[in-house]
C-alpha cells in the first residue's frame, strides 16, 4: 500500500491498473538462453479489458505471469512491471504475497488443474481471504458462499463443501474466477480462461467476466488466441508476435484497420461462419468432376462411402461398472467423394464414430457399412482389406508419428505393409511424390517428426493418409492443435487434396467455422445422439434443432460490432 514514490513521465492523474515498461523476460533452457519477451511496454486502465493475442509461444502467458511475479526459477526479467501502483519486480516476498490476490488475481487456463483436488472449493476460496484478512472461519465461509452465488453456482450453500472433481468443467472455471474475485482485486489476469471449454460454456464464462468488470470495475487482462473471444469481450487489444508487442489499439480499430502486418495475417486466417458458402459452390463442382473421373476407372457407380444405421457403440465398463454407451442410434451416410463434417461438444461421441468407421472400435449394435463392406463384427483380417482404402488423420500431429522413425519411414510404412513396396528404401520415390503432394520438400523424408513444425507434421500426416490412395479419409480434429494461421493453411491443403483425389471424408471438429469451410454435409452430435444431419448450408443457416441453434449462437463472431449486436439480441429475450 506504500504509494509509488517514483513518478513517471507519461502519467495521467489516474494510475494505470497495469503498466509494463521495457519488459524483458529470458529463460535458461537446455538449449541455452531463450528470450521469451523482448522489451514490451503496455498499459491497462482501471476497468478496462485488454486482450493479449498472438500465436502460440509468442509470450502471452509469460507476460501475464510476470504481473504477479509468478515466473519459474529459470526466468530472468528486467524492465518495470507496475501493478496497481506497485513495482512487482522490486517487492519482497512478503509484499509480493500481499499483492497477489489483493491487487491482482489470476485465472488459469485449465480449470481442472487449477484447483487442488484434495480440498473443498470453499476451503480454497476461504484460504485466499484468510491470507489477506483477519477473518473467522465462519465469515470466510459465508463470503465463499456469497461469491459462489455471484458467479452462478447453483445451491452455493451446499456446493461450498464439495470437492473440485464434483463440478463440471464450466463450473470449475467459475469457481476459479470466484477465487479470484472474492478478494476484489484491481486487476484480474485471465490466461485463456475458456480454451478448455465448449463454446456454449465459453459464452457463459465470457459473460461472467464481463459482469465482473461492470460490477467491480476491475481491470481485466485477457489472454486468448480466439479472435471471436476478443471481439466479444475486449476494449483494447495487444498483439504479440515472437516476444514483441507489435500493436496495441482499441478493439474496433484492430478489427477494422489493423496496422501491423502480423495482425493482418492473424485476422486473415480467422475463419468466419458462413464464409465457406461461395467456396463450397465451386468445390462441389470440382468434386463432382473428380468423382466422375474416378467413375471412368471403375466399372460400377460407387455407393455411399459410409452408411450407418441405428449405430450403437459402447465401451466396456471395467470391473463392477456397466458398459458405457458412447454413441446411440446414429444414422448417417457419407456419399462417395463428399465431406461430412461431424460436430458436437467434447465427449459427444465424434471420435468414437470416426474410430468405429475405421474399425478401431467395435460396434455394439446397428449397421455400419464402409465402402460397401459391413464392419460390424468383422474380423481383423477382413478389416485389413478395408483399411487399404482408408486414410486417417489424427488430431495431434505430434503424437501420430512414431518419434523413433523418420518421416520417410513413417510414410513408407503403409506402402511396405500393403506390399506396394518391398522396403522403406524402395518406397522412397513414392514417398517423395507424397511429400510433394502436400507441398513439403522431399528432403524432409530424412527428418524426425520432432524436427518438423506442427503444420508441417500435419501435412506429413495427410500425406501418410493418402499414401494408398484411399477412397475414404477420416480426419479427427486435424487442426485443433494448430495455431489459426497454420490451421488455415492446412485446411486449404486438405480441400485441394480432396478435390484432387476425390475421396470421401469424415471431418471431425468442434469448430463450426471449420465445418462451414470444408464440408458438404454436417452432422451434429450431442451426448452420443445425432440431433441434426443435413447439407451444411441448411444446417448452419437454418438450424432446426434447438441445440444446434444454441451452439451456433454461442460461437462468438470475430467482429466486435456484430458480436455486440448479436449479444444484445440474445440476452434481451433470453435473460
Amino acid at each position: 500500500m506504500t504509494p509509488q514514490s517514483s513518478a513517471h513521465q507519461t502519467q495521467s492523474t489516474e494510475t494505470n491498473a497495469v503498466e509494463l515498461r521495457q519488459l524483458n523476460i529470458r529463460f535458461d533452457t537446455d538449449g541455452g538462453e531463450v528470450s521469451a519477451v523482448n522489451g514490451i511496454s503496455l498499459t491497462v486502465q482501471p476497468g478496462e479489458i485488454t486482450a493479449i493475442v498472438g500465436e502460440s509461444g509468442s509470450g502471452k502467458t509469460v507476460t501475464a505471469r510476470s504481473l504477479l511475479g509468478l515466473l519459474p526459477d529459470n526466468a530472468r526479467t528486467d524492465g518495470a512491471v507496475v501493478v496497481d501502483g506497485h513495482e512487482v519486480t522490486a517487492l519482497s516476498k512478503a509484499q509480493l504475497r500481499a499483492l497477489r490476490g489483493r491487487n491482482a488475481a489470476m485465472v488459469f487456463q485449465e480449470p481442472s488443474t487449477a484447483l487442488n483436488p484434495v480440498y473443498p472449493v470453499g476451503w480454497q476460496i476461504a484460504e485466499g481471504l484468510r491470507a489477506h484478512r483477519r477473518i473467522s472461519r465462519k465469515e470466510a465461509r459465508a463470503e465463499a458462499v456469497e461469491i459462489l452465488r455471484q458467479v452462478g453456482i447453483p445451491e452455493p450453500e451446499k456446493r461450498v463443501g464439495h470437492y473440485p472433481h464434483q463440478f463440471s468443467g464450466g463450473q470449475k472455471q467459475r469457481v476459479v474466477i470466484a477465487m479470484a474475485l472474492v478478494l476484489r482485486p484491481s486487476v484480474i489476469i485471465a490466461d485463456e480462461p475458456t480454451t478448455a471449454l465448449d463454446v456454449t460454456v465459453q459464452a457463459e464464462i465470457l459473460d461472467l467476466l464481463r459482469r465482473c468488470r461492470d460490477k467491480l470495475g476491475a481491470a481485466i487482462v485477457l489472454i486468448t488466441h480466439n479472435m471471436g473471444v476478443v471481439a466479444d469481450l475486449a476494449d483494447t487489444v495487444a498483439v504479440m508476435y515472437r516476444g514483441d508487442l507489435v500493436e496495441q489499439a482499441p478493439v474496433e480499430k484492430i478489427f477494422a484497420e489493423p496496422e501491423h502486418d502480423y495482425t493482418r495475417r492473424l485476422l486473415g486466417a480467422v475463419l468466419r461462419l458462413g464464409e465457406g458458402k461461395e467456396r463450397r459452390r465451386s468445390t462441389t463442382q470440382i468434386a463432382e468432376a473428380g468423382a466422375e473421373g474416378h467413375g471412368d476407372d471403375q466399372a460400377t457407380e460407387p455407393g455411399p462411402a459410409v452408411e450407418a444405421e441405428d449405430l450403437r457403440i459402447t465401451y466396456p465398463g471395467g470391473l463392477g461398472r456397466p458398459d458405457f454407451t458412447a454413441v446411440q442410434g446414429v444414422s448417417l451416410t457419407v456419399p462417395a467423394g463428399r465431406v461430412l463434417g461431424l460436430v458436437g461438444e467434447s465427449g459427444s461421441g465424434k471420435s468414437t464414430i470416426g474410430r468405429a468407421v475405421a474399425g478401431l472400435t467395435p460396434v455394439a449394435g446397428g449397421a455400419l457399412r464402409v465402402l460397401g463392406r459391413s464392419v460390424v463384427g468383422a474380423k481383423e483380417r477382413q478389416l485389413k482389406k478395408l483399411r487399404r482404402d482408408l486414410g486417417f488423420v489424427f488430431q495431434d500431429p505430434a503424437s501420430s508419428f512414431n518419434p523413433l522413425l523418420t518421416i520417410g519411414q513413417c510414410l513408407a510404412e503403409p506402402l511396405v505393409v500393403s506390399g506396394e513396396a518391398g522396403s522403406a528404401n524402395a518406397a522412397r520415390p513414392r514417398v517423395a511424390e507424397l511429400l510433394d503432394a502436400v507441398q513439403l520438400p522431399a528432403a524432409f523424408a530424412d527428418r524426425f517428426p520432432h524436427e518438423l513444425s506442427g503444420g508441417q507434421r500435419q501435412r506429413a500426416s495427410l500425406a501418410r493418409a493418402l499414401a494408398l490412395r484411399p477412397k475414404l479419409v477420416i480426419a479427427d480434429e486435424p487442426t485443433s492443435a494448430l495455431d489459426v494461421s497454420v490451421q488455415a493453411a492446412v485446411l486449404e491443403l486438405f480441400q485441394s487434396l480432396q478435390r484432387e483425389f476425390g475421396f470421401a471424408a469424415i471431418f471431425i471438429t468442434h469448430d463450426l467455422a471449420v465445418v462451414d469451410l470444408v464440408s458438404d454435409q454436417v452432422a451434429v452430435l450431442r451426448s452420443g445422439q445425432l440431433v441434426e444431419h443435413g447439407p451444411v448450408d441448411d444446417v448452419l443457416s437454418a438450424p432446426q434443432d434447438p441445440y444446434t441453434q444454441r451452439l451456433l449462437a454461442s460461437v462468438p463472431v470475430p467482429d466486435p460490432a456484430e458480436q455486440r449486436s448479436r449479444r444484445e439480441a440474445l440476452s434481451s429475450p433470453g435473460n
Binding site: L115, V118, G128, L319
Partner: protein
C-alpha cells in the same frame, strides 16, 4: 462398496497362487526327513520314513489334500518341531508386525520431513546432502548397518542391548500373562510395569533404526520427488497467485496430494519391508516370521513354510487393500 468387495476378493487368488507356488517349490527342493536325518540314516531307512509320512505319494494327491486342509482352516502342524502352524503364525507374526511398525515410525519420522526439506531446498546443498544420506541409507545392507549400530551403541557405549525383543526377565513376565497379544509393547503396558515398557522400548531402538533407516531412505526419495512434482502443479501457482504463503503451500497444498502416491508406494513397500525385515530380524535376534521362515526353509518344513507364506501374502494383500482405502480418505476423487 462394490469395488471394496472386488478388491477384497482379489486377495484370494493372490494367496492361492503363492501357496501353490510354494507348495511346488518346496516339494522340489527336498523333504524334511532328509533334511533332519540325512546325515545319519541310510537311503533305505530314509525311504521307509518318507513312505510312512506319505511324502512318496503323487504330488497332486498331496496338493489337494493340503488345499482341503487349508479350506477347513487347518494349517497343520509343523514337521520339524511339531507346533500348530497357527500358533507359529501368531507368535512370529506379531513380532514381525511390531518390528515393521517400529520401522515404519522411524521411516516416517525421518523420511517424510527430510524429504519435504529436500524438496523445498531442491538442488541446493541441503538437498544434495539429504539425497546422499538417502542413497547411503538404502545402499547399506541392513546386516552391515546393524553390525555398526551394535558395535557403537552396545559394545562401545553400552547403552542399548545388542539383540532380542526384550530381556529374559521381561520375556518371562510377558509370557506368563493371560492371553498376551504377542506385541510386546502392548503386553508390557498391560502388565503395567514401567521397567518392562522401558526394556521393550530399549530393545526396539536398534532394530527399528536399522530397518527404519533403510525405509526412510526410500521414503525420503519418494517424498522429495513427489513434492517437487506437486509443487509444479497448476493449483500451487493458483494458490500462490491468491497470496498464500510459501510455507502454507508446502504444508497444506503440496503435502496432501503428494502423500497419495507415497501411501500407494508404501503399500507396495510392505512386501519389501517384510523382506527387509528378514535380515533385520536375523541381525537382531528378532524372532519374527521372516527369520523363522529361513529356518523352516532349511529344515524343508513345507507345512510351516506354506503357512507363513500364506500369511505374508495375506498381510501384503490386506495392506494394499487398506492403502487403497487410506488413499480414498486422503483423495476425495476416489470414492467407492
Amino acid at each position: 462398496m462394490r469395488y471394496i468387495i472386488v478388491r477384497f476378493l482379489l486377495i484370494i487368488p493372490t494367496v492361492f497362487i503363492l501357496v501353490t507356488m510354494v507348495f511346488v517349490f518346496m516339494r522340489i527342493i527336498g523333504d524334511p526327513i532328509t533334511a533332519a536325518q540325512g546325515g545319519r540314516l541310510s537311503a533305505a531307512q530314509l525311504d521307509q520314513m518318507r513312505e510312512a509320512a506319505g511324502y512318496n505319494r503323487p504330488l497332486v494327491v498331496q496338493y489337494f489334500e493340503y488345499l482341503g486342509q487349508i479350506l477347513r482352516g487347518d494349517f497343520g502342524t509343523t514337521l520339524s518341531d511339531n507346533r500348530p502352524v497357527t500358533e507359529v503364525l501368531v507368535t512370529y507374526g506379531s513380532a514381525t508386525v511390531e518390528l515393521v511398525f517400529y520401522g515404519l515410525i522411524v521411516a516416517f519420522l525421518i523420511g517424510i520431513p527430510l524429504g519435504m526439506i529436500a524438496a523445498a531446498k531442491r538442488d541446493r546443498w541441503p538437498d544434495a546432502g539429504l539425497r546422499l544420506f538417502a542413497i547411503l541409507a538404502y545402499a547399506t545392507p541392513v546386516f552391515f548397518l546393524g553390525l555398526l549400530l551394535k558395535l557403537v551403541f552396545s559394545v562401545w557405549l553400552g547403552i542399548l542391548p545388542t539383540s532380542g525383543r526384550a530381556s529374559s526377565r521381561t520375556r518371562i513376565e510377558l509370557s506368563r500373562m493371560e492371553d498376551p497379544t504377542g506385541i510386546y509393547l502392548i503386553d508390557a503396558i498391560r502388565v503395567g510395569d514401567l521397567s518392562d515398557v522401558a526394556d521393550v522400548l530399549q530393545h526396539a531402538v536398534l532394530p527399528a533404526t536399522a530397518l527404519g533407516l533403510l525405509t526412510a531412505g526410500v521414503f525420503l526419495r519418494l517424498v522429495r520427488t513427489n513434492m517437487i512434482g506437486t509443487l509444479a502443479m497448476d493449483y500451487i501457482d493458483t494458490a500462490r497467485s491468491r497470496g498464500v504463503s510459501e510455507y502454507r503451500l508446502v504444508r497444506k497444498h503440496a503435502y496432501r496430494p503428494a502423500l497419495i502416491p507415497i501411501v500407494t508406494v508404501i503399500g507396495m513397500q510392505t512386501a519389501m519391508l517384510l523382506g527387509g525385515a528378514v535380515l533385520t530380524e536375523t541381525t537382531f535376534e528378532w524372532r519374527g516370521l521372516g527369520f523363522q521362515l529361513t529356518h523352516y526353509l532349511s529344515a524343508r518344513d513345507f507345512i510351516a513354510v506354506q503357512g507363513i507364506v500364506a500369511l505374508l501374502a495375506v498381510i501384503v494383500a490386506v495392506t494394499n487393500f487398506l492403502v487403497d482405502i487410506i488413499v480414498a480418505l486422503i483423495d476425495p476423487r476416489v470414492r467407492y
